[in-house]
C-alpha cells in the first residue's frame, strides 16, 4: 500500500507519465517486504482462482502479492470408467479424480465456495490440510445436496497439501474419489521449471475383481480389509498412459506434484529410469536430493523434480510392484529429443545366461470358476471391444498401446511374423507363459512372459483383438480353440 502512495505522488508531479504509472500497477503487484508471521501478510485485490483438472496445474503464483482468492468448487457424483468396460460411480471435487488443483501463495485469503450439485444424493464437505482451524474447514463446509457453503481462511504454511471429504463414512467418501491437492507457494513462488504435472494415487475397492465388466459397486468389506482391486494414478487405469501420457523434451526439468489420496495404502513412488534430483519430502520444506523412491503417506504428498536427460518413455509406478502391473498403478512420461550416449548407451551386448532352476512363472489361476458370471461377447464387434478392454487392462504394460512392444525387452505384436505364423502357439503362450529366446520380425528377444489367469472366453477375445489389429492376419480365435490348447 505504501508503494502505491509513493507512485501516486509521482504521477501528480508529472501528468504525462500517467500511463507509466498505470503500467507500474503490475510492478506494484510485487513486493519484497517480508513478514515474520504469515498472518500479517496483507491481501490486496480479489481474484478468482484458476482451477485445473489433472494432470494439469494452474499458472505459478510467481512474484504476485497475496490476494483474496475466490475458489469455486462443485461436488459431482458421476459415473465414469475405471478400465475398459468397468463402470464406477465416482464422487468428485470438480468432476475429476483427483479433484481440481488449487494453487495459492502464503498469505492468500481464500474465500471457498463449496457447491453440492442438486442431483447428488449425499451431503459432503471439505477438509483442507492447508487450513489452520477446526476440521480443516470440514465443519464450516458441510453442505446438503443443492446447496452452497462459503467459508474463508488464510493460508499460512507453504507446502503441498491434500484436501478430502470428511463426511461420515469418511473412508467411503475418500475411497470413491473425494480428494485432491492444494499447493501453497512460498513468498516469491517456487523456482520456475519447464513442466509441471499433477499426479495423485488412490485405490478403489469394487464388488467384482480387477477388470470384471459392468457397473461395479463400492465394496465395504474389501475397504475395511484394505484389499483394493485397483490402485491407480488419477482416478482410473490408463489415465496417464498411451495418448494421455505426460510429455517433456530432453533437457527440461519436470516437476511433479504427487499426492496420495489413499484411503489406506502408502505409495512407494518411483519413476522407472529417472532419479529425483530434488524431493520436497512429504510436500514440506525439507529437501532431499538424488532420491530413487519416495514414500507418500495416505493423505500426504511430495513434490519431486528431475531433469530428463534422455529420450524415451519413463514409467511412473507405485513400486509395490503388483499394484503397478496387476492393479493399474502405472503412468507414463514421454520424453522426446536427441539421444545422449554419454548418459545412456542402450544395449551393447546380449549374451546367454541360464542359471539353474529357471522355470516359467505362473499367475495364480482363478480355478476357472469365473465362467458362471462372465459376460460373453455375442458378436465379432463385441469380441473386439471386450478384447481391446482386456488388452488395455492386461497386455498394454509390456506390449504397448499399438502393439509395438519395447525394443530389446518386449516383442511387438503389430505385424508380427512370430504371432501370425502359429495361432495355437500364441494361445499356448497366453495360457502358459513363455521364456527363452525367440525371433520376432528379425529381432531377437529373450525375456519372460508370465502365464495369464484368463478364461477361455477372455483369451479368445484378446487374441481376436490382437489378430485383427495393427496389420496382423485377421484370424478369429474362438473359446473352443483356446479350450483345445488348454486341454492338450
Amino acid at each position: 500500500m505504501n508503494l502505491r502512495i509513493k507512485k501516486n505522488f509521482v504521477t501528480k508531479m508529472l501528468l504525462g507519465l500517467s500511463t507509466i504509472a498505470f503500467l507500474s500497477g503490475c510492478v506494484n503487484d510485487q513486493s519484497d517486504k517480508t513478514y515474520d508471521d504469515a498472518v500479517d501478510i496483507p491481501t490486496n485485490q480479489e481474484m478468482v482462482a484458476e482451477l485445473t483438472s489433472p494432470p494439469f496445474v494452474p499458472t505459478p503464483v510467481g512474484k504476485r502479492m497475496a490476494k483474496k482468492l475466490i475458489v469455486d468448487l462443485e461436488i459431482q457424483e458421476r459415473e465414469g470408467e475405471m478400465v475398459g468396460g468397468v463402470k464406477y460411480v465416482y464422487w468428485t471435487f470438480g468432476g475429476t479424480v483427483p479433484g481440481s488443483f488449487i494453487r495459492t501463495r502464503v498469505g492468500d485469503e481464500l474465500e471457498f465456495h463449496l457447491k453440492n450439485h442438486p442431483d447428488n444424493k449425499l451431503p459432503h464437505n471439505i477438509d483442507l490440510h492447508a487450513v489452520n482451524g477446526p476440521g480443516g474447514g470440514a465443519e464450516s463446509s458441510f453442505v446438503a445436496p443443492g446447496h452452497e457453503k462459503v467459508f474463508s481462511f488464510k493460508v499460512l504454511n507453504p507446502g503441498l497439501y491434500v484436501y478430502h471429504c470428511a463426511t461420515a463414512p469418511v473412508g467411503m467418501h475418500i475411497a470413491n474419489g473425494m480428494y485432491g491437492l492444494i499447493l501453497v507457494e512460498p513468498e516469491g513462488g517456487l523456482e520456475p521449471v519447464d513442466r509441471e504435472y499433477y499426479v495423485m494415487q488412490g485405490e478403489f475397492y469394487t464388488e467384482g475383481g480387477y477388470g470384471d465388466r459392468g457397473m461395479q459397486a463400492f465394496d465395504m468389506q474389501k475397504a475395511i480389509n484394505e484389499n483394493p482391486d485397483y490402485v491407480v494414478f488419477n482416478g482410473h487405469v490408463g489415465a496417464l498412459t498411451g495418448d494421455n501420457a505426460m510429455t517433456a523434451k530432453v533437457g527440461e526439468t519436470v516437476r511433479l506434484f504427487v499426492g496420495n489420496g489413499g484411503p489406506s495404502l502408502i505409495s512407494s513412488f518411483h519413476v522407472i529410469g529417472e532419479i529425483f534430483d530434488k524431493v520436497h519430502v512429504e510436500g514440506g520444506d525439507l529437501l532431499n536430493h538424488n532420491v530413487q523412491t519416495t514414500l507418500i503417506p495416505a493423505s500426504g504428498s511430495a513434490i519431486v523434480e528431475f531433469k530428463v536427460d534422455t529420450p524415451g518413455s519413463f514409467i511412473l509406478v507405485d513400486h509395490s510392484m503388483f499394484r503397478a502391473f496387476n492393479k493399474g498403478a502405472l503412468a507414463m512420461l514421454n520424453v522426446e529429443g536427441e539421444e545422449n550416449k554419454k548418459v545412456f548407451t542402450g544395449e551393447i551386448h546380449d549374451g546367454i545366461y541360464l542359471p539353474e532352476g529357471s522355470v516359467i512363472q505362473s499367475m495364480p489361476s482363478l480355478d476357472r470358476k469365473k465362467a458362471k458370471e462372465e459376460v460373453k461377447a455375442l458378436s465379432f464387434e463385441e469380441k473386439m471391444k471386450f478384447g481391446k478392454d482386456k488388452y488395455m487392462a492386461t497386455c498394454v504394460a509390456c506390449h504397448q498401446g499399438n502393439g509395438q512392444g519395447i525394443a530389446g525387452a518386449f516383442p511387438p505384436l503389430a505385424k508380427s511374423d512370430y504371432l501370425n505364423a502359429d495361432v495355437d502357439r500364441a494361445i499356448d503362450i497366453v495360457l502358459h507363459g513363455k521364456t527363452g529366446e525367440i525371433t520376432v520380425n528379425g529381432e531377437k528377444y529373450n525375456s519372460v512372459m508370465t502365464a495369464q489367469a484368463l478364461s477361455d472366453e477372455e483369451v479368445s477375445n484378446v487374441l481376436t483383438y490382437v489378430y485383427n489389429s495393427w496389420g496382423n492376419s485377421k484370424k478369429e480365435v474362438t473359446p473352443q480353440m483356446v479350450e483345445a490348447v488348454r486341454n492338450r
Partner: protein, 238 residues
C-alpha cells in the same frame, strides 16, 4: 397403512446400553407420490410453488415442477424437493404425522424376512449400492422390496424426512469429541458410533444432519405415520 409392532432397538448413536423403546405405530406402505402431492397443493394453495413462504421452503421447493400444478417425472414416483414444513403439513392434512427418526429407523431395519437385518451383509450392501446409484428418485413407488412389516421403498428411491430429522447431528462440527451429538466427521465419527460396520446408517444420519427444515432436495421425499390410538378413533374414516 400397516402396523409396525413396537420394540427395543439400539440406534447407531448412543452407548451400548442405551436401548430405545419404540411404541407400536402405523406407517404408510408407500412414499407420497407426485400425484398425491399435486392433489395436496390443489387443496392447499398456500403450499403451491409460487405461494409458499420462504420461511417454510427455500428456492429449491418443487424445483422441477414447471408451474404450480405440473410436476415432471412419473406420476407415481415419490415427490421430492419438498421441505420439512411442507411434508409435516401434508401429513397433518391427512390426519397423520411424520414418523419420528426412531420409528423410521426401527421400521427400516427390516429386510424381506426379519425385523432387524442390520447385521446381514447383503442388506447393508443393498443400501450402500442404492446410495451410490444415481437418479433413483424417478422410479415408481413400490418398485423396491416389501419388508417384514409390509412397507416398501424405505431404501432404494429417495431419502425420507422424519419428524426429528436433525436431533442427532445439528451443527456439523467436526472433531469435537465432547459433544456426542455433533461428531459425525472423520475420527470422531467412529468414536461416537455403536456399530462400526453400519456405514449405511452413517450416511443417513449425515444426510439428515446436512438438512434444515426449509431445505428441500432432489433425492428427498417422505411418508406419513400415525399413532395406534389415533387410528382407533379414526377407524370409521378408513
Amino acid at each position: 397403512m400397516v402396523t409396525v409392532k413396537g420394540g427395543v432397538y439400539l440406534p447407531l448413536y448412543g452407548a451400548a446400553d442405551q436401548l430405545i423403546d419404540v411404541d407400536s405405530f402405523m406407517m404408510d406402505v408407500l412414499p407420497v407420490t407426485n400425484t398425491d402431492y399435486l392433489k395436496f397443493v390443489q387443496e392447499n394453495p398456500k403450499w403451491k410453488k409460487s405461494n409458499v413462504k420462504a420461511l417454510f421452503a427455500d428456492k429449491s421447493y418443487l424445483a422441477k415442477w414447471t408451474d404450480d400444478t405440473s410436476f415432471t417425472g412419473l406420476p407415481d414416483a415419490p415427490v421430492n424437493n419438498v421441505s420439512w414444513f411442507a411434508a409435516k403439513k401434508y401429513c397433518e392434512c391427512q390426519g397423520k404425522r411424520l414418523p419420528t427418526m426412531d420409528e423410521w429407523e426401527f421400521a427400516a431395519m427390516a429386510n424381506e424376512d426379519v425385523q432387524d437385518a442390520r447385521k446381514i451383509k447383503s442388506y447393508n450392501q443393498y443400501i450402500l449400492n442404492w446410495y451410490e446409484a444415481p437418479r433413483t428418485y424417478n422410479k415408481s413407488v413400490g418398485s423396491t422390496f416389501k419388508n417384514y412389516w409390509g412397507i416398501y421403498d424405505l431404501h432404494g428411491l429417495v431419502w425420507e424426512w422424519t419428524q426429528d430429522f436433525n436431533s442427532v447431528l445439528i451443527s456439523g462440527e467436526s472433531r469435537k469429541d465432547q459433544d456426542k451429538d455433533s461428531n459425525l466427521f472423520c475420527g470422531s465419527a467412529a468414536i461416537g458410533a455403536s456399530d462400526l460396520m453400519n456405514y449405511a446408517a452413517f450416511m443417513r444420519y449425515a444426510f439428515r444432519g446436512s438438512m434444515k427444515a426449509r431445505y428441500s432436495s432432489q433425492n428427498l421425499g417422505f411418508r406419513c405415520a400415525k399413532d395406534i390410538e389415533k387410528l382407533d378413533v379414526g377407524q370409521k374414516d378408513l
